[in-house]
Symmetry: C2
Subunit: 371 residues, 2 copies
């Protein structure tokens, strides 16, 4: 290998690590997290990009645009990207065509695209004479998107569960009072979550008790969605009738009179929902957790101690600590742990599918290690 070839190979390896870092800046949801770095033929970085969520440019066009903004010519360059470029006209055009038009000479990607309608980008690029290498850092890219991949493979929406609770895990006090456990900053953040999703779902009992609107109103931060914007669909799930005067009603309202989580997800997927935000109440939250379909959890924790009251996640059927799934702090989309006014926001991802809970450690004597 010549010195130049080695230098370029090293630049591509560095670019892939950087692209993975960029991917992690994106927001989980209907689309996978993807990052991209455009290199000149000599390995110089020309542009960087990542996908910021459904309806915004994919990572490769974002990196091409960044290179353009910097006054760089992409022709003959190498696009290093964490996912096989798409070959699909969705809310944006196919990335394969964008790369061909831009005159990119080579594409290095990490994971294959498993999303049926979008796959096939590498074949299209090769047919157009663009050199294509896949599988570089594929495991890291797959790890970043394993829950998204699982939802695509299963043909169901990506599910975000949102919860607002006291420090001791209560969503309401003994008398049922629950407004407001968290402060205005946390609630505004919750409204931002709504604006990102295709649908927001609550239990029909919650509709009866709290009469939520489920719109995405503006809040304290400057990054608010426009007033009145919101998810395409507002869903009440469960057997409780939805009153005719309920605030959730109107265009985009759906009542799914079922307690069956997979059936509800099938119905919503058929209606085009690719990202579902589940907001509770606790029985609905627990049903989605039990079904193993929660792909991320956003938990707003208020520094209030209630001692008693409705638990955030009742009846999960977990008997021992060893059997409890270990979630992990997830920095995709921003720091996993954030202060929001007086409250704390945790962003968590579940353990990888099939991963066992950790066994309880025991001391040499075979009994739990005394504290």
């Amino acid at each position: 290998m010549s010195t130049t070839t080695r230098r370029v190979a090293e630049a591509e390896a560095r670019a892939m690590l950087r692209a993975l870092e960029l991917a992690g800046l994106g927001v989980r949801g209907a689309n996978p997290l993807v990052g991209a770095v455009l290199l000149a033929p000599d390995g110089t970085v020309l542009g960087e990009g990542h996908h910021r969520g459904a309806g915004t440019p994919h990572a490769e066009p974002a990196a091409l645009a960044d290179a353009g903004d910097r006054g760089h010519d992409p022709r003959g360059g190498t696009m290093v990207v964490t996912l096989e470029p798409c070959n699909h006209t969705g809310r944006t055009g196919p990335c394969s065509e964008a790369l061909i038009s831009a005159g990119v000479a080579r594409v290095v990607f990490a994971a294959d695209d498993v999303n049926g309608p979008a796959a096939g980008g590498a074949s299209r690029l090769r047919a157009a004479g663009v050199g294509c290498v896949g599988g570089v850092e594929a495991e890291a890219s797959k790890h970043l998107n394993e829950r998204w991949t699982a939802s695509v493979v299963a043909g169901r929406p990506f599910v975000t569960l949102k919860s607002a609770q006291s420090l001791d895990g209560r969503v309401a006090a003994v008398d049922g009072s629950s407004q407001w456990i968290t402060g205005p900053e946390a609630r505004a953040d919750g409204h931002r979550l709504r604006a990102l999703a295709d649908a927001v779902l609550v239990g029909s009992g919650t509709v009866r008790d709290d009469d939520p609107r489920l719109t995405a109103r503006g809040g304290a931060s400057g990054e608010e969605p426009a007033a009145g914007s919101g998810p395409a669909l507002r869903v009440a799930m469960g057997l409780t009738p939805v009153p005719s005067e309920a605030a959730i009603r109107g265009a985009g309202f759906v009542h799914l009179p079922t307690r069956d989580v997979p059936a509800a997800l099938d119905e919503l997927f058929a209606r085009g929902v690719r990202h579902l935000l589940v907001e509770g109440g606790p029985r609905i939250a627990a049903a989605f957790l039990r079904a193993g379909v929660v792909d991320e959890l956003v938990s707003y924790v208020a520094p209030v101690v209630l001692g008693d009251g409705a638990p955030a996640f009742p009846d999960l059927g977990i008997d021992s600590l060893a059997a409890a799934p270990r979630w992990s702090l997830d920095d995709a989309g921003g720091p996993a742990v954030r202060r929001l006014g007086a409250d704390v926001r945790l962003h968590l991802r579940p353990p990888p599918p099939g991963e066992q809970a950790e066994p309880v450690p025991v001391s040499d004597a075979g009994r739990p290690d005394p504290r």
Copy 2:
């Protein structure tokens, strides 16, 4: 007021704000949080200091030492400090004498010292011809130490409550398994808390069930106490007998066979305990919370969801959200919200004594604002 006098006055005002900031770097416990800034006669900063916890130098000697390290002469200078200098030989000598010996000409302090044995510093300084001005930013200083002041006035130890729980507020699963909810980094941090306190207390039921040692072993961080170091006293509280072979026994062990929190605190105060760490179990934690004597709460939250099991703080007698005390994130001693390995550590202070819980907000229509 001459330009020079105004400049010096402004320097003193700035120095007091800086001293308050420095005070907040300290660690809560047996002593108050105090910060100090030494100024030259022209208002130049000569040195800074803060009190780092029981057994370490007070803020004023720390600022004098810092000035010395920087090669500055304290003579004729002004000490700006957030608490009246002490007049008491405790674990360190009286600050009043240190300031007089150092030739400091003027002392500006915020809050009066309410601690009987240590008070009187200002009188002593004035008697020695040192100019003394008190009450500058006194409210901010009092706010910083209001819980410490309350404990001193009540003649009881400052109480730190430590808790390790699942995201949903459980300290054990349904089968009783609780080791380990949190990971090694959180446990090591808990051992550091032990090393700072004069005494560590658990319920006698916890002694029977878990057989804790309550020593302060070293952990993952570099800032560990020496191996084998620990609190002076290990306390079991409650009516359950402590087995003769219990690991908690040995020099420094006390059993307080009572469920009465004030009585236990009286007894520990009489034994010289000025900082008590309460570690649980949940019934003990709740008893201290109900008694209103918890001065800070350190909560380790593991990203595991149990759904059921022993609650962290049972039976607080709080019926409504409006009646629940609102704690607040406390940055004294370091960021209030920290990641420790896979877990999150929250450092909280209770609402000021006598402060009401926030009323439940209602909409214009007089009913809870719908979400």
